[in-house]
């Protein structure tokens, strides 16, 4: 076994610890700033921060009036980042998102093309009601979300990091909407359900928004800090048996998986992609990082399974017909694979 000197002050393992602790405190301040505006929804806020640290994107789903847009705007306000909002409508065109080339005229009256960047050129992009735009327009985001670049007229334009797409959609109004294709759904790191507030939360919301001027969040975290945190998160130790557990979970979302559950065998046509398992492990690392733990444990994996994979399962006809929720299938899978025996020595008996 190699020896580790915990008092190594030279290059700074101790400095790293200090930086990690400082970042944690920064993120805690971001939570506090958002909490000034948003009542409750701690899990959704945690999910958004997870996406931010993972360099991923989030899809927020909830009925109208629950504060999805306000939540994203508050996050944008709490960070020293550029924020843009795109209201998706059926007549929205891809050029309205990524930008277009326009004809300009110089002093000598010579005309030339110049690229006018669209609203996607921002750090945080709020794609409000994304499912109201046509698939053609939705797909304009594909390259930006995955490659963090935009190609217009053969020219690639890099997006500034950090880049975070936060999309919202309404699960009730399906008329005149275009469900997101699987390829685009798979690009969202998390799918977060915005739930209805409790009595206490709703009372607080009413008090805050009807009695006095609503407070606005103060920016507390810079893009440099976020990028640094993104790098550190990837270094969070992950034991091999925990990784194997995550991989087995991913494989088991397929009907022919090794430890799959009976419900998945019955209702799922296709399980999660490898990108889903990557998201699961990365999100688990963020969870451990934000919780102040130096390593990922099995509970991190279990906790992030549903938000990471629920939008990646493709149900079969029977599942669609019976209105099966992917989240329920994943919870059932967790019952089937508790993970307590992963890599462990069996009790001699």
């Amino acid at each position: 076994m190699a020896d580790v000197d915990m008092n190594d002050n030279g290059n700074g393992h101790e400095n790293v610890e200090v930086r990690v602790e400082a970042l944690r405190q920064d993120f805690q301040r971001v939570r506090d700033e958002i909490a000034k505006v948003i009542v409750g929804h701690e899990e959704v806020v945690e999910g958004l921060l997870t996406c931010l640290l993972c360099d991923g994107h989030a899809l927020l789903e909830g009925v109208p009036g629950l504060g999805k847009t306000l939540l994203v705007k508050s996050l944008g306000a709490a960070l020293h980042l550029q924020f843009s909002r795109i209201q998706f409508t059926p007549d929205l065109m891809p050029a309205d998102i990524i930008g277009t080339r326009v004809v300009l005229q110089d002093e000598r009256e010579r005309r030339y093309f110049e690229f006018q960047a669209g609203p996607v050129f921002s750090n945080i992009v709020l794609a409000d009601e994304i499912n109201r735009a046509t698939p053609k327009t939705q797909s304009a985001l594909l390259e930006a979300m995955q490659e963090q670049s935009v190609t217009v007229a053969g020219t690639e334009h890099r997006l500034e990091r950090p880049f975070l797409v936060l999309a919202t959609q309404n699960p009730l109004e399906m008329e005149g909407t275009y469900p997101l294709p699987e390829a685009q759904l798979d690009r969202f790191l998390l799918k977060l359900h915005v739930t209805y507030p409790s009595f206490a939360e709703l009372s607080d919301i009413v008090d805050r928004t009807t009695q006095r001027q609503a407070p606005t969040p103060e920016p507390v975290l810079s893009s440099a800090s976020i990028l640094e945190a993104q790098q550190l998160v990837r270094e969070v130790p992950l034991a091999s048996h925990v990784r194997d557990y995550a991989v087995n979970l991913g494989l088991s979302t397929h009907p022919a998986g090794p430890h799959t559950s009976a419900t998945i065998q019955r209702y799922v046509r296709y399980g999660c992609s490898p990108r889903g398992v990557q998201s699961l492990v990365l999100a688990a690392k963020v969870r451990a990082f934000l919780a102040g733990r130096p390593n990922v444990d099995l509970d991190d994996i279990r906790a992030m399974l549903v938000p990471c994979l629920r939008h990646r399962l493709i149900l079969n006809f029977e599942g669609e017909a019976e209105g099966i929720e992917s989240a329920d299938l994943l919870r059932d899978l967790l019952q089937t694979m508790p993970g307590r025996s992963a890599g462990a020595a069996r009790q001699p008996a």
Partner: protein, 506 residues
């Protein structure tokens, strides 16, 4: 400072604890199997009398068990990571120990490793191997003391060697058992002879006698019931003899002379068979015919006054081979019937002997308590005036002493119907004072028969062919006691009635 000292110590302790427990439980399992095997072997020794010395047996089992345990225990291995993962899970350490161990080992330059290792060190100090791997006695191992106690009890109890053959014999009286054994033995002897001579009826009866002997040994019953059963079989035998006699009389004429031995050393049957083999060809060469005539002459010396032989000689000299062949075949079948009759007669005497012995058993019980194989039977003083040498009877079948199958061992033959050789004295007649040689039986009988073609619309199968198999089957069923007693008499009368009308019809 060595950062992972406690972690390493703990992983080593956990490994040792795991190996100790695993090997101990493995030892328990091997012990359980060894004691189970020892118990089964002890049962075998105690109940079935297996000739094995207990010390050798237990020593062998113990040695083998030790070798097996050593082999299995040597193969038990466990790495540090699985035990640390188990400790993480059991103590709720959120994978700190296992992750720290893995990263300190493989990625020591990870920026999180120092803090992780520090936390793991702190957690390792609290790890108690007994809590991670508590000793739990597997329920199956509770069988070890129970089987051990049973083994000790079993080895202390003196039990008579158990035999399956003894089952159901508790209620069988000694004399019935003795007679049952004797009948079974005689049945076997008779079966051997019948197989050699190819005598179907005798073979069947021999098997009936064996079956009866086994039943007498196995089933409950006293002397009276056993005697009744023997009488039933004896009646069956008598009917078989009657049937045989009728058949042989119908198919041929002349007396029934058997077991004659010629000066050439061949039996009559062998000589007849030789002649028949020579007569297969209608165009017999002259030399062969002379040989056949010589054979007929030899037969004539023994079977004096036989009209068939005279007729055979005439046909041979006249060259009528077909008629000669038919005559020889008739003589042969007659000879075979006579042999069969001899066998059946011998069986009848055996049954009579057993029946009488059973009837006497009640009177001589004190003398019959011991097994015949242990003590020679005493000469019985029967009230019917017939004395038997029971020692001789116990060894040989009654009637066997006055009969030897041709070709078996004897140099010369004799007739059971009055003709005796030098050493062939009937044991039944050995005891009375009279030395006068007498002929027993019905004497010579002649019966002529008429062969004719079947009339039109008459049955194609002769009554002889039709009735006899059915009668035989019915008698077998009766002999095996598968028919209720109230129906037996009616069935017997029916077939007897058919049998009585048969000669008259012809």
């Amino acid at each position: 400072m060595e950062a992972s000292r406690h972690l390493r110590t703990v992983s080593h302790q956990l490994q040792q604890r795991y190996l100790r427990l695993k090997r101990a439980i493995l030892a328990g399992d091997v012990l359980l199997i060894a004691i189970g095997v020892a118990f089964l072997a002890t049962v075998g020794m105690t109940l079935f009398g297996w000739p094995v010395a207990p010390l050798v047996l237990y020593g062998t089992i113990g040695g083998l068990a030790l070798l097996v345990w050593l082999g299995l225990a040597w193969r038990v291995r466990i790495g540090p990571l699985p035990v640390l993962i188990t400790a993480d899970h059991k103590l709720g350490l959120q994978e700190r120990l296992s992750t720290a161990y893995e990263y300190v080992e493989q990625q020591p330059h990870n920026p999180f490793v120092p803090s992780l290792a520090a936390e793991a060190e702190q957690a390792a100090r609290r790890v108690e191997p007994r809590l991670v791997f508590p000793f739990r006695m597997p329920p199956r191992l509770w069988c070890v003391p129970l089987i051990l106690m049973a083994l000790v009890v079993l080895s202390q109890v003196d039990m008579t060697p158990f035999k399956f053959e003894d089952w159901g014999r508790a209620e069988v009286s000694e004399e019935v058992l003795t007679e049952g054994k004797r009948l079974e033995r005689w049945g076997r002897q008779l079966e051997t002879l019948a197989q050699q001579e190819k005598l179907d009826r005798s073979l069947m009866l021999a098997r009936h006698i064996q079956d009866l002997g086994r039943r007498l040994q196995r089933e409950e019953g006293q002397g009276g019931q056993a005697s009744e059963r023997i009488n039933t079989l004896s009646q069956y035998l008598q009917r078989m003899q009657e049937e045989l006699r009728e058949r042989s009389l119908m198919s041929a004429t002349g007396d029934m002379t058997v077991q004659e031995m010629l000066t050439s050393g061949k039996s009559v049957k062998q000589e007849l068979q030789n002649i028949l083999n020579m007569l297969r060809d209608d165009n017999l060469p002259k030399e062969m015919r002379q040989v056949a005539e010589q054979g007929v002459q030899r037969l004539s010396q023994v079977m004096q006054g036989s009209p068939e032989l005279s007729e055979l000689m005439q046909n041979l000299q006249a060259g009528n081979m077909a008629a000669a062949r038919q005559l020889v075949q008739d003589l042969l079948s007659k000879q075979r019937a006579a042999e069969e009759m001899e066998h059946l007669d011998r069986a009848r005497r055996a049954l009579q002997y057993s029946s009488r012995a059973l009837q006497r058993g009640g009177q001589n019980q004190p003398q019959d308590k011991t097994s015949p194989s242990d003590q020679p039977p005493q000469r019985a003083e029967s009230g019917d005036g017939t004395g038997y040498d029971e020692q001789a009877m116990g060894e040989d079948m009654p009637g066997m002493e006055d009969f030897e199958s041709p070709g078996l061992s004897g140099d010369f033959g004799f007739s059971s119907h009055g003709k005796s050789g030098d050493k062939q004295q009937l044991r039944e007649s050995e005891q009375p004072a009279s030395q006068v040689q007498v002929k027993s039986g019905e004497g010579k009988m002649r019966l002529s028969y008429v062969r004719h073609l079947p009339l039109q619309n008459e049955a194609k199968v002769s009554i002889e062919q039709a009735v006899v198999p059915y009668q035989r089957a019915a008698e077998e069923v009766l002999a095996q006691e598968q028919i209720p007693r109230s129906y037996r008499e009616q069935i017997k009368q029916y077939f007897l009635a058919i049998g009585m009308t048969q000669p008259e019809a012809q």
